[in-house]
């Protein structure tokens, strides 16, 4: 038995990040059938890429890869935010509307001469504000996450309409244009931003106290509470993160379309949750990865891209998307 008093911190005696080597961890993961599900999205993505490439050789052309990666950036950012919420067994239905609101706030500030940086900060703050509101109502008000975020879904999109007076605002800004079109090799800036966010999120989730508390809150909030974790604060924080990332997504969106619109963006909501779930994260909380949802987002983007490249008719596209999504989830069943 250890001494009752344990050191609560240790100076960086070991500097190697993350313990066992990657190889060990991968082989460990492969041996554990419960974790096969985590890789559904990756397997699905690989299969999809092979199929599309064999049917249409432009699929893996560098222009197309670049286009896909850029197109996936917003969804990746939102899915990362959604992952934090879902890891605590919550759900953020307002994520897409919050993005809309943040985009409109950005547009409002921008055309009122706030300057780019200030407008960006304001938009991100607006997103974070909605997140904190969600989190506070859920954790302090003890209202179900589903209802609260459904309420803010409606309220945020209403507010966006009011602020924008229902009209899109064209944003002409050189830096934003570069953000949406600039690349490093085949990686567009917006994709790189999304990737950087994902890496930070991964470190936060697995290498900080906060991340452990998020998983503990999702796994068993009573137990987490009993061991002295302030689960209310954790809940508030994950919604704040989700709102904040919706704000970041809004900037990417505005840069991408060159306008701040009060459009509903509903497809982003379902897609963000779908990416997370395809990425092997349980809706019941407690277990999560960041890589999974990122791959899930890439899968969903590649799917629509590939179907369009193949010239699948607009009526058959939803059918094909539905079938492929189920198959991607089904793939793992045969791996066990």
């Amino acid at each position: 038995m250890q001494q009752p008093s344990l050191p609560t911190d240790r100076a960086g005696a070991e500097l190697a990040l993350g313990g066992p080597s990657l190889g060990t961890r991968v082989s460990e993961a492969l041996r554990d059938p419960g974790r096969w599900a985590d890789w559904a999205a990756l397997i699905g993505l690989v299969v999809l890429v092979i199929v599309f490439q064999s049917l249409n050789s432009t699929f893996l052309s560098s222009t197309n890869i670049q286009a896909m990666l850029v197109a996936s950036a917003i969804l990746i950012v939102l899915s990362v935010g959604q992952t934090f919420v879902i890891a605590t067994a919550g759900i953020d239905l307002s994520i897409a509307s919050t993005m809309t609101l943040a985009a409109v706030v950005f547009g409002f500030a921008f055309v009122h001469g706030w300057g780019l940086v200030a407008a960006i900060l304001l938009a991100i703050c607006a997103g974070a504000f909605v997140g904190i509101l969600n989190g506070t109502l859920i954790s302090r008000g003890k209202i179900t996450d589903f209802i609260v975020t459904l309420g803010t879904l409606s309220a945020a999109s209403g507010l966006a309409l009011v602020i924008a007076n229902g009209k899109p605002v064209t944003i002409i800004s050189e830096p934003l244009l570069r953000l949406s079109t600039g690349t490093v090799g085949i990686f567009g800036y917006s994709f790189l931003i999304a990737l950087a966010i994902a890496v930070v999120a991964h470190v936060v989730l697995f290498h900080t106290r906060f991340g452990t508390y998020v998983l503990a809150t999702g796994g068993n909030s009573e137990a987490a509470n009993a061991s002295g974790i302030n689960t209310k604060r954790i809940k508030t924080a994950v919604y704040a993160i989700s709102g904040l990332l919706a704000g970041v997504g809004a900037i990417l969106l505005v840069a991408r379309v060159g306008a701040a619109e009060p459009a509903a963006n509903t497809s982003f909501l379902l897609n963000s949750v779908a990416a997370v779930v395809l990425g092997g994260v349980s809706l019941f909380g407690g277990r999560a990865t960041i890589a999974g949802p990122v791959i899930g987002a890439l899968l969903l983007t590649a799917l629509v891209n590939g179907l369009t490249l193949l010239g699948v008719s607009q009526f058959y596209q939803p059918l094909a998307v539905g079938i492929v999504v189920v198959l991607a989830a089904f793939l793992t069943r045969f791996q066990k």
Binding site: M1, Q2, P4, S5, L6, P7, T8, D9, R10, A11, G12, A13, E14, L15, A16, L17, G18, G19, P20, E28, V203, F206, H207, T208, R209, G211, T212, Y213, L215, A216, G218, G219, N220, E222, A223, A224, N225, A226, S227, G228, I229, N230, G286, R287
Partner: protein, 275 residues
């Protein structure tokens, strides 16, 4: 409060000045269920204080009041000389009360080492930035668990996979690993095998010898007689008797628990039962 009455009056009315924990007239109802009617008891530093009683007598509820999970409807809890009013388990833990709950408050989806170090993670820093020291936690967790368990589960496996006894061992390791003034264990050995039970009993004795106060709930009266310094008997939401363990035997405990012996509560305290 005077020691003069110690011989005549039973333990429960003594409330010695050096008591670490003092619970007085604590009551708690869940809707119609009066789980605790009025409970008065105390526990001292450097002693094992046992609580016994039938199923549903209110032992775990009492423990949950002390450790901040529930807030009593009425009554006073004094800890370390001052009245306390914990609003959350966090408050209680900060004051130095550590609990092994009966329902084993572990997070099933986290690994053994994550559970052991939950809320007291080891960190390593690069300057002001601090990250989890996963490797060190795993290593220490392995030592901690192997000191209690016989079939040591791998510390990287999720708690969901463990056997009943392995979980209990993890819970106890957790509680014992903190530096706390009072350690409450609600039926810690219920799911344990003989060897593991022996190790836990050793652990309890060691913790007592180090000066911690320990509250032990157990249905195993042999264990209670073996380990404890004082015994409280609960019946239907009340502490009906309190004794120094040296002055009691198994038969008397059984009698008090079952109600064959009436206990020491004065009649006016029992009034509430009519409602």
């Amino acid at each position: 409060m005077s020691n003069a009455t110690a011989e005549t009056a039973p333990l429960m009315f003594q409330a010695p000045s050096d008591a670490l924990l003092r619970v007085e007239d604590v009551a708690l109802s869940f809707g119609q269920v009066r789980a605790l009617k009025t409970v008065t008891m105390h526990a001292r530093r450097g002693e094992v204080t046992a609580i016994v009683g039938d199923n549903g007598a209110g032992k775990s509820t009492l423990v949950r009041c002390i450790s901040g999970v529930h807030r009593p409807d009425s009554g006073v809890i004094e800890f370390d000389g001052a009245p306390v009013n914990f609003r959350s388990p966090e408050d209680a833990r900060e004051e130095g009360i550590e609990t092994v709950h009966q329902n084993l408050a572990l997070v099933e989806d986290l690994t053994v080492w994550q559970n052991l170090f939950l809320n007291r993670e080891l960190m390593r820093g690069f300057g002001p930035v601090k990250f989890l020291d996963r490797r060190a936690m795993k290593r220490e967790a392995a030592t901690m668990v192997s000191s209690l368990a016989v079939n040591v589960p791998p510390v990287a496996s999720r708690v969901r996979r463990l056997s009943g006894g392995q979980r209990q061992a993890v819970s106890i390791c957790r509680a014992a690993g903190f530096t706390s003034k009072l350690i409450i264990m609600d039926e810690p050995t219920a799911a344990l095998g003989v060897q593991e039970t022996a190790r836990v009993e050793e652990l309890i004795q060691r913790l007592r010898d180090e000066g911690h106060a320990i509250i032990l709930i157990s249905h195993n009266f042999d264990q209670v007689l073996r380990l404890s310094d004082a015994v409280w008997v609960m019946r239907a939401g009340r502490c009906v008797a309190g004794r120094r363990t040296a002055e009691i035997d198994g038969d008397e405990i059984v009698g008090l628990v079952t109600g064959a012996r009436p206990g020491d509560l004065p009649a006016e305290k029992l009034q509430g039962d009519l409602t």
